[in-house]
């Protein structure tokens, strides 16, 4: 049988050691570590519910072997915000009515966060492209895109 290995990575700002089975997937490691905000949906890299950020990029933790996170900077939804400190992306989704069942929302927030960190002025097309891997069966996307356009517009410096 495979032996356990130790890897180290920064999780939501804190550098930590993790004991993993060599083939363990990142989503399993996160959830058994108590971070259940990252959702398991399709388990095959299609739905985007498991999206987390690794070195600032939105990636699918349900298909990423945990060992690839060694030495990296991993941020999950728990590192973004919660009821007491709501992140502007989360607030914009609430304000636009872009959340119904909510299962896709953590992954969507992680995709949007990575996009805005790379490009705060993301175009409408950029917003569509960067949410193409987050399936939402409730909202029909219009309210999600409205919310993300509102985040983008709030990022813009005030016109002189």
């Amino acid at each position: 049988m495979s032996t356990t290995r130790t890897i180290t990575f920064t999780l939501n700002g804190k550098k930590r050691d993790f004991q993993i089975a060599p083939g363990e997937l990142l989503v399993k490691l996160l959830r058994r570590s108590g971070l259940t905000g990252t959702k398991e949906g399709c388990d095959e890299g299609t739905c985007g519910a498991c999206t987390v950020n690794v070195d600032g990029r939105a990636v699918l933790s349900c298909i990423m072997p945990a060992f690839l996170a060694h030495g990296r900077n991993v941020v999950t939804i728990e590192g973004v915000g919660d009821f007491d400190r709501v992140h502007p992306i989360q607030q914009a989704l609430v304000d636009a009515g872009a959340v119904q069942c909510g299962y896709c929302t953590p992954g969507l927030v992680m995709s949007a966060k990575a996009m805005f960190e790379e490009n705060p002025a993301a175009s409408d097309e950029d917003i569509r492209v960067h949410t193409d891997g987050n399936l939402c069966r409730c909202t029909g996307y219009e309210k999600i895109w409205t919310a993300l356009r509102n985040v983008r517009d709030a990022n813009k410096p005030a016109q002189a």
């Binding site: 060599p22 083939g23 890299g45 985007g48 990636v59 060992f67 492209v129």
Partner: protein
């Protein structure tokens, strides 16, 4: 895929030695986005290829030199004269997959969802492989059959050399799928080099609709030396694929997929022609 151990080499020679020593038990991994589709049979030792300096794109004369571990997202987000792979990258799966998948991973084992082989065949790319020595192959040699055959001895694809699409030249790329992130039903890529109003040379390639990515020799021959027109390009695509075998897909007959491939290739040729006219010298 059953990963029972992993190695994280930080130098190319270390990675090559690990791949050689492990032999068939080695699983070279960079983006890891294909592993979910590989059955769990044999125990494998994953070898992480992400820390070998094999990522990045740089202009090298009249070509681009792309590290094999370069993410598809890096291809998608590069925009400069002569660079056309952003168009191919943008239609590959979802942003999260583009952020992790690598160009090398998309082509070292051709899967039904591999989009880049057709583009690299049409562009006349070169593939640089490192084993005991370094060797460069043409895309035609590399994709003559499943490229995985080249890596059984522990060799590694390190770079891909992609010619810049320059004056008088144009590139076209079309992919047909049922949903934004779905696998391709037909992928077509084309390169045209114009000489005044005439076609000096044409390269065309198909994937997904056919059993394995391939150049379309009859289409290319029908175009070389002719005066370019939309009618000529579409007719060449419609008439030039009759010798090929097509696959059934998602409830569609092989005959239908063949027709879809011809129309898709016609669209790619017209797109290539439009760019070539824009870039007329």
């Amino acid at each position: 895929m059953k990963i029972t151990d992993f190695k994280i080499p930080t130098r190319l020679d270390e990675a090559l030695a690990a791949l050689r020593d492990l032999g068939p038990a080695a699983l070279p991994v960079a983006g890891a986005t294909s592993l979910v589709f590989i059955p769990e049979d044999q125990p494998m030792t994953a070898v992480d290829l992400n820390r070998l300096g094999l990522d990045g794109i740089r202009r090298d004369g009249d070509a681009f030199r792309i590290g094999a571990a370069t993410r598809v997202a890096a291809l998608q987000k590069r925009h400069e004269p002569g660079w056309v792979l952003d168009r191919v990258a943008l239609t590959l799966s979802s942003q999260q997959i583009r952020n992790e998948s690598t160009l090398g991973g998309n082509i070292c084992r051709v899967f039904p969802w591999s989009d880049f082989p057709a583009a690299l065949l049409a562009l006349g790319a070169g593939l640089v492989i490192r084993g005991a020595q370094e060797k460069e192959m043409t895309a035609d040699e590399f994709f003559s059959s499943q490229p995985a055959r080249l890596f059984r001895g522990g060799d590694l694809l390190t770079h891909i050399r992609v010619p810049a699409v320059g004056a008088g030249a144009g590139f076209g790329y079309k992919k047909v799928r049922q949903t934004a992130t779905g696998f391709s039903l037909a992928t077509a890529a084309a390169c045209l080099q114009l000489d005044g109003g005439g076609i000096r040379s044409a390269r065309a390639a198909l994937s997904a609709a056919v059993p394995f990515p391939a150049r379309c020799a009859a289409v290319e021959a029908a175009l070389a030396g002719k005066k370019a027109s939309e009618g000529l390009l579409r007719e060449a695509a419609l008439n030039g694929l009759s010798g090929l075998k097509f696959k059934e897909a998602e409830g569609m007959s092989a005959e239908y997929i063949g027709r879809l491939a011809a129309v898709t290739l016609g669209d790619a040729l017209v797109e290539a022609w439009a760019q070539a006219k824009e870039q007329a010298s």
